[in-house]
Symmetry: D2
Subunit: 343 residues, 4 copies
């Protein structure tokens, strides 16, 4: 297979290059980035293992975006910012499968998209054929997709524990409160004062709490596919001193916590990238550098506390994107995605 | 003034030595610790500024606990573990004011104490004369106290935003969900695998979520002094890669968020150690190394999101203990507690 | 006293505002910054303790540089970048004492300045009246100075252990190798990819090793004031995951290490901001948030290993600048500079 | 292959379990540890990917050491502390190849061992048949080895840049000064105050500088195999806030730096785990989680500055141990050791 990565200069794109260069079914990886056209890939990312370039598996030079999309790849990954992503990928849609890591194709309801992103759908005519790439829930729909909308990091970590409850028809009796901690790479690689080391080390802060964050809209849309939750959902994200990683702790008011836990177990037992930790709260380091999500719980009277951890750059972005590719092409779902993880 | 610090080998005790050695009204500081009797103080804490010992303000050698309590001090701080604290301080009670940083004297309801700490009150006859040292709420009761129970770190950061609402009679319509992030020093200075650098850097985890944590009991007791909240309270603490610091984000279901915000402003406007940040979420670095607590908020329909940050070792422990001392002796409440803070 | 801080938006300027606002002899602090004219100071630095603005000690709004220099202050601190600093301060020189944190007035030898900074002296006619503000070595020359050139961070931490040896005429038998570790704030607060949290956490790197770094020139110039060292000096700086802090370890080939250690002790015994730790290597946390430098050593056969630690923002920049101000005006040298430090 | 890991509870042993469980030629992994006999492996290391246990590749329970050595494995890794390692492995020597991560079999000169470790060789009769497992330099001697002495982390990172110079007969004109930064996991997983998160975050310190550190002796022995260097070597290690990683910067006085650089290039060009970065200083994150060592340099007049970075737990311990196993058994040298690395 020949694969192209657009936006190879951000964290998501950089990680895609590496995962794909080590993927057993990928023969050639092409990097494209607006700001680095003509730059050697091992200068664009000095940390790139030398063997990836020496072996010829990654093309030695970053292409301009317009040149990168001309390459006849089997699949194109876009790690471009929302808005730009749909625009750049538009000519590709229908010709080659696109796996889009931006928000451009994630929303079914245009009003909701508009509320969250402040603009119309960037590519309305392809919106209908996009599949939401939360693999464990949309696996059946992936083969044949024109464009796969790779889910947001917070939505992945929030929906994975919640969807089995919705699916099992668990009755929810009050507001769901989701607390989320994110690694700083979630804010991207463009230099800003707010993400400097000097500002973020040994520092924790909530941001956009309540119902303000764009991912709030994405979470609610996917939860309410089968009907309203009947209660509000609050989503309180935080930036903590993690490079990579995400930890969610949520309180779900319900009298059916035992049945909910059974639903989680039944649903995720066969999944290769979902690991349940029972009543032991999972730690973010347990999944760092892997494509796994770990889920734990605590049953209280009339409430279930659900906890999930994953790596925002792997299961929350590039790893899940490659998982999508694997399913799309009928490959082993775990190909290129099994590594020893972090101590 | 002559002051004694028992348990000077933990983080709380170490910080007390420094704050007191720099306090304008303190002339002599005596350190006592079970495990370090006879050790020079600047060897027990090599980071101690040399001037504190050179000037004679801190006695040069750590005393055994039994010797330390024999010293005729004007006030004794106990940073000993719960259980041990009440036992060691028992002979002092009534003779000299004790400011106790442990949980031994914090609870009014013995059943609640038993539920949280698994034992009876360690010093039942002095329980009645103890004052809960949350200065902003118990200031009037401090002068003349036999023993001041310095509040827990999580309770301080949780109660400070919530008490004005309770005080103003704000109607709460559902469960309160408190999410808390704590610095690792909150787990003490005794060496354990779980608090090693290699285990905690770049790692976040929830622990004792729901209603399990001891501080859940302490928070609920103080909230319900004037009557039941009518709804459950969930408290989900996390360990994040912070040395010092605490960040609380909570959702309070209420239709009266505007009045609640007014109550916060009215109540805390004159307080020297409470700083309101409005709708801007406060960051933990803003109060690191200071005795301040900062509180921000977000009003949602039918809910108020409250955020607070403080340094768990300052306002959450040693700083508040000195604030208590200042009020107890009628000194300037901010004496020894004003520093430039962290960038 | 009324003081002005130019460049109040960088780490050095931000810290100056805080130290000065808490200084007992300072009545008014004026902030000036090119990029933040008209911005409220507590918005420019949200972490600023509220009391500094509430009390009126810091003027509530950041001034444009041209307005700031019009204020009739008793002293002006410039935390502007080199080049810009001399240019902006030129009209002030001779009218009001300037304490300049840039490199513009540090060099006696213009060729050396040119070699390091690639341009001529920016203000040649004032160069002669500038005093190098390494207080412990130039204290006598400070009163009456037109402009005080606050030393670089690396030079301060390198020269403090070395100058007593030069001063005592210790014979050096081979190349001096200085290894230096710096906190990331040393690279400033302008956003760059290289100083993002995601790039610097859990990451260490050497940079500009050998004789390339600008501070190499500054160190050598001050060491060779009394004549050539007779041997080359290598200076290998590193960026490590520290917000603030600097650790120097150097090997000095000499057969006179015992006499060298005596010289260190004799020289620094009376100094309020120099703390000797003997053969115990000092740690950077021991001086974080303080104006102290700590020096330790190890004697080997025919070599002396010297170690120093200091906070790059305090003794390495803003703290030393205020120490210079204190001496310049005949105040207590430690005024505004004594704080409890870091555990 | 069936492999046994003794001392599976430390960082080195934990990482061995993971690398071996993902190794294509390994069928069964047995864990043994003194303190965890009978504990499920996924409780001993909760972060262990679930698939390793679920697949049966790792035996589900940690064995006692005496039981573990009874298992008929093809190779035994010992990650036990020095002293204990030789003692526990003694009955195995000659029966099954042992790869020892401790210092017990590293030294050829018993006096040097005694000087560094304070005791005689623990297993003198096997000392002669031990091979020093610095693969790139002792590859030819590995097949057939009774016991492979896996090198220390500092010696690996120091010797790799230096041995090509010695090998090429580069003339050295003065003392070599090696500066080293190590991740905190290098100090092990036994809980000590000094390695707590609260003590090490945002903190840097030199320790055992000069000629004191045990690894100084190991480095010098291997450098002087072909004769004395003629000059002293100084080794200054530091602890910095890294979980994993090591960065070495050294100054080698020589007039032949160009020839030295050629020697480096010639020697390491074909090596799969050595990556040269030229005059760009390598960063520790570039090799984190990989078995690669990266080497860069800076030529000065009469001196060469050499820089190396590697992961102390991979190339500095467990990764190199598996590399040794691969060579010992004639497997692909990179088997089980190629991963995408860290961004």
């Amino acid at each position: 297979m020949k694969v192209t990565v657009l936006g190879s200069n951000g964290y998501g794109g950089m990680l895609l290059l590496r995962i794909l260069a080590g993927h057993p079914d990928v023969k050639t990886v092409i990097a494209g980035a607006r700001s680095q056209a003509g730059v050697p890939v091992d200068q664009a990312d000095p940390g790139l293992p030398h063997r990836y370039v020496a072996s010829g598996k990654i093309l030695p030079t970053v292409l301009a975006l317009e040149d990168a999309i001309e390459e006849s790849s089997d699949v194109v990954f876009s790690a471009l910012p929302h808005g730009a992503s749909a625009e750049v990928c538009a000519p590709l849609l229908g010709r080659v499968p696109v796996i889009d890591l931006s928000a451009d194709f994630r929303f079914i309801d245009q009003d909701r998209f508009r509320g969250a992103y402040g603009s119309d759908w960037p590519a309305p005519k392809h919106q209908g054929s996009a599949v939401y790439g939360l693999v464990e829930w949309y696996r059946h729909a992936l083969p044949g997709a024109t464009v796969i909308a790779n889910p947001g990091c917070y939505p992945t970590a929030s929906l994975m524990p919640l969807l089995p409850l919705v699916d099992a028809g668990i009755t929810i009796n009050g507001p769901i409160v989701i607390n989320a901690l994110s690694g700083v790479t979630g804010a991207g690689r463009s230099p800003k004062v707010n993400t400097l080391y000097g500002e973020r080390t040994e520092n924790a802060v909530a941001y956009s709490p309540g119902m303000q964050h764009r991912h709030h809209a994405e979470i609610v849309e996917r939860l309410e596919m089968g009907g309203s939750l009947g209660h509000p959902l609050f989503f309180n994200p935080h930036l903590v001193p993690l490079k990579q990683g995400m930890a969610i702790t949520m309180v779900v008011p319900t009298a059916e916590s035992t049945r909910a836990v059974e639903a989680l177990k039944d649903r995720y037992n066969p999944e290769p990238f979902v690991e349940l930790t029972g009543t032991r709260p999972p730690e973010t380091r347990e999944i760092r550098g892997t494509n796994s999500i770990r889920i734990g719980w605590r049953e209280e009277e009339n409430a279930l506390v659900l906890m999930s951890v994953m790596d925002n750059l792997w299961k929350g972005a590039s790893g899940q994107a490659v998982q999508n590719m694997n399913v799309l092409f009928g490959l082993d779902e775990t190909a290129g995605l099994l590594h020893p993880g972090e101590l």
